[in-house]
Amino acid sequence: MARVAERTTDAVPQISLRGLRKTFGTVTAVDGVDLDVEDGEFFAMLGPSGSGKTTVLRMIAGFETPTSGSVILDGADATGLPPYRRDVNTVFQDYALFPHMTVAKNIEYGLLVDKAPKAERVRRVGEALEMVRLGGFGDRQPTQLSGGQRQRVALARALVKRPKVLLLDEPLGALDLKLREQMQLELKAIQRDVGITFVFVTHDQDEALTLCDRLAVFNNGRIEQLGAAQEVYEFPASAFVADFVGSSNFIGAHAAREVLGMSGSFAVRPEKVAIVPRGDTVVAGVPRVDGVVRDVVYAGAVTRIVVDGPAGLTFSSTVLNTAGELDVSIRRGAEVTLWWPAAALRRISD
């Protein structure tokens, strides 16, 4: 959030997409996307598969030509430019390391194509390897590396050209969970160091929230919501966003009128729903519903309790296992009361 405030408003956005559309035959993959990504921003495009986020990334890189609309890079129209004329580099989902070249040759390739002098190439390849903590791996073949190491080589290869924008297509998708969490922190640190714009595509909302300054949530070829990570999570603009980014308890219009006495449909995050045995005292003046525990799921750090509420509603409440153990009275079949702060209730539609 702080970054957004610091940004000067008169600066030209690093990437501007205007009315971007892309159709493949009869299928509309991207359906009118307008987007500005600022200089030095870590930006995420989040969405389910087929939502058009990868196609947008490929149009920024130049691998796809928009059916209509324009791609403006650093103030200049780049819509028709081939990928090799754009100051943009990509980390591919499958890393796309050249199998017939060593790690060092892979990283050197872009500099070689640009006809950089030998001494400079050697120095910059060395620096890039150090940056991704792969010093001494230059002579290895890509096949001799682990998934995480390949990922770093791909990162070094793209960053060695010092692009204005780095695009990452599901960069951590092929890594296992532990490695992914570690690489997330590294990616963030590297982005801070090099200070250039990172745009990454992911279907993993956790990853998007962890990494990005701002994100765009894609659905059916359109942007459903655009904003800072916290903003999108706390104030989802639609039922789709409320469900896709994190999870939500939905209260439809009919149930809202009946149970809460309010008009419109609402969503509330499970971690904001408190649960107490029926009859315990609850803070006055907050929304509350009574229900019966259907399931208690212990998941290590948290416990998830599923509750059958009135009017056919189902609630999920996530409780941090701070004390180590949940109140024993909250078990399957127990009668409970759920409540949440009034501010936690989000109106999804009128």
Binding site: A61, G62, F63, P82, P83, Y84, V88, N89, T90, F92, Q93, D94, A96, L97, F98, P99, H100, Y109, G110, V113, D114, R157, A158, K161
Partner: protein, 274 residues
């Protein structure tokens, strides 16, 4: 039965076939190159002699024919590669799935037609009063070395296209995109990424075209006019001159050429990842 015994039983028949029938026949042929023929009766005499090898080396005709044959084989290989590389690249990376299927069918269908029919078709095409002469106003290669090279290049082209097509198919699109992304033009990408990656496939195709040309005596007989290549000289010794040992000695030349060619390919590293 123990797994080892079962495996041995399973492999024994093909192994027997390979060793006895295939390698055995070549070994017998090699040995017979050092035998001789009775001038009077024409019967093969199994007495060890270097006469055949001496004749091979001393008579300049054989060196000339050998050199010509190897040049024709290399020429056919180069021509096929020049045609096949862009064709295979187009088929695997540019053509729509429908067009790709159509082209694959077009490339492979001629393999179903008889070899003789195709050679005779070319004989008709290049004939002094044939269609090529008709269209170009008499400029036809006619029967001879040129027609032989053209016909052989035509006959073996599918053997070059198919492996290279498979080779390009294995080069994933993201590698090509990565090269573009890093600033390389299309030409640079072909030179630095695509060709090195399909080189093993080109080498595999070239082994087909090179060895098939070395062994061919029918096409040259049909469209070659008076042109002599190694294989039809060998055929002549075997059938016309009835000198099997000398034919065997002559066969050492294409055999050596193939072995040398394979070694040359191995030196380039092309055979390591096949």
């Amino acid at each position: 039965m123990r797994p080892g015994a079962r495996l041995a039983l399973l492999l024994s028949v093909p192994l027997l076939w390979l060793v006895v029938m295939y390698l055995g026949s070549i070994a017998v042929m090699l040995v017979s190159a050092f035998w001789t023929v009775n001038d009077f009766t024409g019967a093969v005499e199994q007495t060890f002699t270097f006469d055949n090898i001496r004749r091979l080396v001393t008579e300049p005709l054989f060196a000339t024919v050998a050199l010509r044959t190897i040049l024709v084989a290399l020429g056919v290989t180069v021509i096929d590669a020049v045609f096949a590389i862009p064709m295979a690249l187009f088929m695997s990376k540019v053509a729509s799935p429908r067009l790709r299927l159509g082209l694959l069918v077009a490339v492979t269908t001629p393999l179903w037609a008889s070899y003789l029919v195709k050679a005779y078709a070319w004989r008709t095409l290049v004939a002094p009063n044939g269609p090529i002469a008709f269209i170009t106003g008499g400029n036809t290669p006619g029967y001879g070395l040129a027609a032989t090279v053209i016909t052989l290049a035509y006959l073996w082209l599918p053997y070059m296209i198919i492996p290279i097509y498979a080779g390009f198919d294995r080069v994933s699109d993201s590698l090509v995109e990565a090269s573009f992304d890093l600033g390389a033009s299309a030409w640079r990408t072909i030179r630095s990424v695509a060709l090195p990656l399909v080189f093993p496939a080109i080498a595999a195709g070239s082994i087909f075209t090179f060895s098939l040309t070395l062994g061919d005596y029918i096409a040259v007989g049909i469209v070659g006019g008076k042109t002599q290549l190694l294989a039809n000289v060998i055929y002549g010794q075997l059938v016309t001159a009835n000198n099997q040992p000398f034919a065997a000695a002559l066969s050492l030349i294409p055999l050596a050429a193939i072995v040398l060619y394979l070694f040359a390919m191995r030196r380039t590293g092309a055979l390591e990842k096949v």
